[in-house]
Amino acid sequence: MSGKPLSEKKATGGQLIIPVAAILFTLYYFSTIWNSPFEAQVAAFFVGTILLVLSLTFIVKRLWQWKRGEINLAFDDLLGERTMRLRRLILFCLTLGFVVLIEILGFTITTFLFLASAMLLLGQGRHFDRAIGIAFGAAIGGYLLFILAFETRFPAGPFENFMTSVVGG
C-alpha cells in the first residue's frame, strides 16, 4: 500500500456504504423468498443477482485501488465539512425526536419545538427572537391551514384536542 501520502489520497470509504447495504439487503431479501412459489421469486432473483454482481464489482474495484495506494478508505466523503458534523448529528437527533414525539405532543407543539430548536442550532443561537417567531408562525400557520381549513388528519396532541373542544369539529 504505497503510492501517495494518506492526506493526498481521496477518501472513498463512504462510497462503499450503498453497495454493502445493497448486498446485505439482497441476501436478506433472498432469505425471505427462498421457500416461496416461483412467481414470488423470479423478479427478485433476477434484479437481486444483477445488484449483487454490480455491488461486488464496485467493492473489489475500490479495494484494488486502495491496495495500490490510490485511495484511502476513510469516511470523510460522507461526513462533509468538519465544522458541520456535530450540528448535523444534533439536527438528526432533533428530527428523530420530532418523529417520536409528534405522536404524543401532536403536530403543533412538536413542530414548534422542533423548528425553534433546529433554527437556533443552525443559527448558533443568533437571532433568537426571529427563530422563535418563525417557529411559532409556522406551527400555528400549519395548524390553521392543514388541520382547521383542510381538515387533514395530522397527529393530534394536547393543543389540537384543546382547540377541538373550543372550536368544535
Partner: protein, 505 residues
C-alpha cells in the same frame, strides 16, 4: 362519437364564465401540489363533501382545475429546493434545480410554467379531437406492452448512470430491489418486509420521495448559508422580469420539444395505472436521446426541464380519456371524479357523449380553459416564487424537514411512514454524499413493483413461455423503439467523435 363544434364552442365560452370556480382551484392546486403528501387526489377527497354538495358541473370543473394546477405546483419546489411535490415531478429537478442553484430560478419556473401550460393545452386539444381513437390505447396496452413502457422508464437509469456507470446502475438496481418489498401479486407472500405489517402493500411512494429528496437535501444544504452558489445569489439579487421573459422565449424557441414530449405524456396518461412519474421519466430519457446536446442534461439544460413538465401535464388530459369514453379511471384523481359523477347519476362510457355532452365535453373544455387561466395567473408569480431560494438555510432546512415529514404521514396516516421517510432520508443523504443518484433509486422504487406485476401477469398468461414477450405486433414495435432509443445516442456519439478522432490522427 362525432365532435359537435357548436357544443364545443358553447362549452368553451361557458367554461370561461366559471372563472370564479377555476381561479381559486388553480391557487389551491398550486399549494397542495407543492407540498409532498398533499396530492390533488388527497385534497379532492378532503373536499368531497363540498364537491358532492354543489352542482355536478361546478364540482367537476373545480376538480379538473385543481388537478391541472397541482401538476404544475409539484414542479415549483422541485425546481427551487430539489423537492418534488409529487412523484410526477421527480424528473423535474434533474435540470430545474441546477438552474435554480445558478440563480436562474425565475427563468426555470417560467420555463416550467410555459411548458406545463402549453403541454396541457396541446394535449387537451389533441384529446378533444381524437377521443375515440385514443381511448382504444387502453385496450391494446396489455402486460407485454406495459413491460416495454416500464423498460423505457428504467432505461433512464442507464442515462443517469452515464456519468458513472457502475454507481448509477447500483443506485437504480438498489431502488428496484427496495421497490420489490411487499407481498407478491399472486400468492401475497410477504418479501423483505422485515416483519413490518405496514410494508405488506409495498413501499409507499410519498415517504420514499420525501426521504430521498427532501430530508436528504435539507441535511445537505445546511452546509451553506443559502442553497445558491455565490454567483447564483448575485444573479438572483438582480433578477428582474427579464428572467421570466427569457424563460418564455427559451420555451417558445423549443415549441416542437414541448409538443412531442407532451404527446408522450398524453399517450402514457391514457393507459390506466401508468401515471405522471413514468411519463415524465420516459419523456426526459427520450428528450436526452434525441437531443443534439445530451451532455448538457443534468447541468441545468432547459430541454431537460421542458420534457418532464410538458409530459406530466400531458398526462392530465390522457387520464380523462378512458374515464369519459370507457368509464375506466386512469388514475386516483380520475377515480374520485368517477365517484362524484356516479353520485349524481351520470352514466359513463360512450353514452355520456349522447346523453350529457355538456358534461363530457365540458370537462375537457374546463381543462383547456384552466390551462389558459394558468398562463396568465401563475406565470407572473415566477419572479416572486423564485425568491424562496434567497431564504437562509438556517430557516429553510428545519421547515422543509418538519412539513415534508408530516406530509409523509398524510396519505396513509401511519406514524410508521414518518420513520420510513427518515430511513429514506439517511439512504438519500449517503447516496448524495457519495455520488449515487437519488433519482435512479426513486425510479427503481416507482417502477420495480409495476414491472414485476406486469411481468408476472404476462408469464402467467403465457404459462411461463418467455417468447410471449415478443408475441404482439404493438409490443414488438415498442421493443424496436426501445432498442433504437438505446442505440441512436450511441451511434450519434460515435458520429460526433469520428471527426475529432480524424483530426487527431
Amino acid at each position: 362519437m362525432i365532435v359537435d363544434w357548436a357544443v364545443l364552442a358553447e362549452q368553451f365560452l361557458h367554461s370561461f364564465s366559471m372563472w370564479w370556480v377555476i381561479i381559486p382551484a388553480i391557487f389551491l392546486g398550486l399549494i397542495v401540489g407543492a407540498i409532498p403528501g398533499f396530492s390533488a387526489a388527497n385534497t379532492i377527497i378532503i373536499l368531497l363533501p363540498l364537491t358532492l354538495a354543489v352542482e355536478v358541473e361546478i364540482g367537476l370543473i373545480f376538480m379538473v382545475a385543481l388537478y391541472c394546477s397541482s401538476r404544475m405546483g409539484a414542479g415549483v419546489p422541485a425546481i427551487l429546493v430539489n423537492i418534488p411535490g409529487t412523484a410526477g415531478a421527480a424528473a423535474t429537478p434533474l435540470d430545474g434545480y441546477p438552474m435554480a442553484k445558478a440563480g436562474k430560478g425565475a427563468q426555470a419556473l417560467a420555463i416550467s410554467f410555459v411548458a406545463s401550460t402549453a403541454g396541457g393545452i396541446i394535449t387537451t386539444i389533441i384529446a378533444l379531437l381524437t377521443l375515440p381513437w385514443l381511448a382504444k390505447i387502453g385496450y391494446v396496452m396489455h402486460s407485454v406492452e406495459m413491460i416495454v413502457v416500464m423498460l423505457f422508464g428504467i432505461s433512464l437509469i442507464a442515462t443517469i448512470a452515464a456519468r458513472d456507470t457502475l454507481r448509477g446502475l447500483i443506485a437504480g438496481f438498489f431502488g428496484l430491489m427496495i421497490g420489490a418489498i411487499g407481498a407478491d401479486h399472486i400468492y401475497a407472500t410477504p418479501r423483505g418486509t422485515m416483519g413490518f405489517l405496514e410494508l405488506y402493500d409495498g413501499i409507499p411512494l410519498i415517504p420514499a420521495l420525501v426521504g430521498l429528496f427532501a430530508i436528504s437535501e435539507a441535511f445537505m444544504f445546511i452546509e451553506g448559508r443559502s442553497i445558491l452558489s455565490k454567483e447564483g445569489r448575485a444573479r438572483m439579487m438582480i433578477s428582474s422580469w427579464g428572467a421570466t421573459i427569457e424563460g418564455l422565449k427559451i420555451t417558445a424557441q423549443r415549441w416542437w420539444h414541448v409538443v412531442w414530449t407532451s404527446i408522450i405524456g398524453l399517450v402514457i396518461g391514457v393507459v390506466p395505472g401508468a401515471g405522471a412519474a413514468i411519463a415524465s421519466f420516459v419523456a426526459y430519457q427520450q428528450s436526452k436521446t434525441f437531443s443534439k446536446t445530451p451532455e448538457l442534461y443534468g447541468t441545468g439544460h432547459p430541454e431537460g426541464l421542458i420534457a418532464p413538465e410538458s409530459a406530466n401535464n400531458g398526462v392530465t388530459a390522457g387520464t380523462l380519456i378512458p374515464l369519459l369514453v370507457l368509464g375506466i379511471p386512469g388514475g386516483a384523481t380520475a377515480a374520485i371524479m368517477l365517484v362524484v359523477m356516479q353520485y349524481h347519476g351520470i352514466q359513463m362510457g360512450p353514452r355520456l357523449f349522447m346523453s350529457t355532452p355538456d358534461i363530457a365535453y365540458g370537462m375537457i373544455m374546463a381543462m383547456l380553459v384552466t390551462y389558459l387561466f394558468m398562463a396568465f395567473t401563475i406565470l407572473p408569480l415566477s419572479r416572486y416564487m423564485s425568491r424562496v431560494t434567497l431564504v437562509s438555510t438556517n430557516y429553510m432546512a428545519p421547515l422543509v424537514i418538519a412539513f415534508t415529514l408530516v406530509g409523509a404521514f398524510v396519505p396513509r396516516e401511519y406514524m410508521f411512514d414518518m420513520g420510513l421517510a427518515l430511513v429514506f432520508g439517511v439512504i438519500g443523504y449517503v447516496a448524495r454524499r457519495t455520488g449515487y443518484h437519488v433519482s435512479a433509486i426513486l425510479i427503481g422504487v416507482i417502477l420495480g413493483p409495476l414491472l414485476e406485476q406486469y411481468f408476472l401477469r404476462a408469464m402467467r398468461i403465457a404459462q411461463g413461455d418467455p417468447w410471449f414477450l415478443f408475441s404482439s405486433k404493438l409490443g414488438n414495435l415498442l421493443w424496436i423503439c426501445l432498442i433504437l432509443s438505446m442505440l441512436i445516442p450511441w451511434l450519434m456519439n460515435r458520429r460526433r467523435e469520428a471527426p475529432s478522432r480524424g483530426d487527431a490522427t
